[in-house]
């Protein structure tokens, strides 16, 4: 691969990044080629030692998505960061995707329980309207209690979701720092 081919491939693979950031990255590799050539090496030998531009781009993109997920916690950003981290290697498929699915399931279940508790008085009222004969105060009071409980669960889930998301992004960062620096025998 020539220097131009290497830089073009890297540039294409990084098209998601801002022009400025991309230019900054490409400049590092241009400098590397320039010094290598001054050192008497051929473009092909330098490109070969650098490794695959696509693999390099993957690491850069994983970093980019992680940063975004950290500064702007939205479901989309977090999922993109998870996906990018998985893209770094099979290793991550297990240690990233596993905990991620687990966390999402816990959070989802918590919210479902909280919300359905909150809405339970509505069900009793609906029941009373549809089948007037079956109305029982016990049901009503019980559902009001559930509603209160649901409110507490929802408040708890609100904080838990925030903490878990933050913690998970932290974990992703730790994980991708472990995986960063792809090596030859990969």
């Amino acid at each position: 691969m020539t220097e131009k081919q290497f830089l073009d491939q890297l540039n294409t693979a990084l098209s998601k990044l801002s022009a400025q950031e991309r230019e900054d990255i490409l400049q590092d590799y241009r400098e590397h080629f320039a010094i290598g050539k001054a050192d008497g090496k051929s473009e092909e030998a330098i490109a070969d030692a650098l490794g695959s531009p696509n693999k390099i781009a993957k690491e850069m993109l994983a970093m980019y998505h992680l940063e975004k997920a950290e500064t702007n916690v939205t479901a989309g950003n977090v999922i993109r960061a998870v996906w990018a981290a998985i893209g770094l290697g099979f290793f991550n498929l297990i240690i990233v995707l596993g905990p991620f699915i687990g966390l999402v399931a816990v959070v989802f279940a918590g919210w479902v329980v909280g919300l359905s508790f909150i809405l339970s008085p509505l069900l009793v009222l609906m029941d009373a309207v549809l089948y007037p004969g079956t109305f029982a105060f016990f049901d009503l009071f019980f559902s009001i209690m559930l509603c209160g409980l649901g409110l507490f669960i929802a408040i708890g889930m609100y904080y838990l979701t925030i903490y878990l998301t933050r913690g998970f992004i932290h974990y992703l960062k730790f994980n991708s720092s472990l995986v960063k620096g792809g090596l030859k025998n990969e």
């Binding site: 400049q27 590092d28 400098e31 001054a38 695959s52 290793f91 620096g181 090596l183 025998n185």
Partner: protein, 107 residues
């Protein structure tokens, strides 16, 4: 050598080299790849990440031969981080060595 293993080590290598003196990317790559077989291009993502985390600062310096070079300098935060990493590294290698020696004695 195990791939995951080497990846973590690369970070320590870069930090240790920069503690001795400011270096430019190519120089770091050469000094590490002299000793450990790495995919050289992957040092640059590492350098970017550690710079963004404020462990390094960078500056450009003209060179008599060829283009100006981007030098990396370890910050105070970077030095603290290096010490922390070194401590973990020593504990880790000591533990592994102990296990290996125990294994040898049992043979």
């Amino acid at each position: 050598m195990n791939v995951q293993f080497k990846k973590g080590i690369l970070e320590i290598c870069v930090l240790v080299l920069l503690e001795k003196k400011d270096c430019y990317g190519y120089e770091l790559v050469q000094r590490i790849s002299d000793k450990i077989e790495i995919s050289e291009g992957s040092i640059y993502p590492l350098l970017r990440r550690l710079t963004k985390e404020k462990y390094f600062t960078t500056y450009l310096q003209e060179s008599s031969e060829g283009p100006s070079r981007k030098y990396y300098r370890l910050t105070t935060k970077g030095k603290d981080y290096l010490r922390e990493q070194m401590k973990e590294w020593r504990e880790f290698t000591n533990a592994v060595n102990e296990l290996i020696e125990e294994g040898d004695r049992n043979d």
